[in-house]
Symmetry: C2
Subunit: 146 residues, 2 copies
């Protein structure tokens, strides 16, 4: 794929991302600490953000500022994404999965050591990538629940 089209390339350091979004660097780190965003990390632990990340953050920003949904509200909504269905999680794996039980934190904020998600990069996962907007979650429910 052409680099120009690939939205998932880690391109922007945190200062640039902050400028693009017109927010402070610290706010970006807060969103990460809360589990709303998972930026790419270099070996040095420095963050890099992709175009898709900027898009995602812009959406989060709207949700907070325009829809007036608190960060904990967003986390709770994310926790409702049916990840077990999306990644085809086995019944056994579900039993031991914290995020399967959780209704306050998104699955990508948990350590998945024993199940299908272990050692996979959440950034690459459809659960993380496709459900940044609340809209997409309801559409998913419509598809799955007849």
């Amino acid at each position: 794929m052409d680099d120009f089209e690939n939205l998932d390339l880690p391109l922007f350091p945190i200062s640039v991302a902050a400028r693009l979004l017109d927010i402070s660097v610290h706010t970006l780190r807060m969103y990460e600490r809360e589990g709303l965003i998972v930026p790419f990390k270099k070996e040095s632990n420095h963050r890099l953000y992709s175009k898709a990340d900027i898009e995602r953050l812009s959406c989060i920003r709207k949700t907070i500022n325009e829809s007036k949904i608190s960060i904990n509200g967003i986390k709770t909504i994310y926790s409702l994404i049916p990840c077990w269905d999306i990644v085809n999680c086995s019944l056994k794996d579900r039993e031991n999965c914290e995020s399967y039980k959780s209704h306050s934190n998104p699955c990508w904020t948990f350590q998945h050591v024993y199940n299908i998600c272990a050692h996979l990069d959440c950034r690459e996962c459809d659960v993380y990538k496709n459900f940044a907007e609340c809209k997409s979650l309801k559409e998913k429910l419509k598809l799955e629940i007849k």
Copy 2:
């Protein structure tokens, strides 16, 4: 059923409900305006609250004060309840249904004039009654989405 056991009887005027929950009368009206609660209304338009209402409001209170989810966040979560599945809404009815499209307001805040919900009392509906807690929504999703 014994009146003492029936949780759905309209028993308490707003002043008593407010005292039971240790909040102001105005806050109760606000929750209603926001669509979080649907109290019984007398012909005179005066509100009456059941034991189930008090329980529901107590849960809403915890969600706001302890889980730190904003009212708009709660509304959005409620809007994700798969009502169409619960009330067995026809495909045709869904097309014209505002709440089927909404991802910001619960179904019981809409006027349902043309579909299966028309003229039904939302207070009596399983959608309204069984999903006051976020927990119950995730459990429902687990049941429906394999």
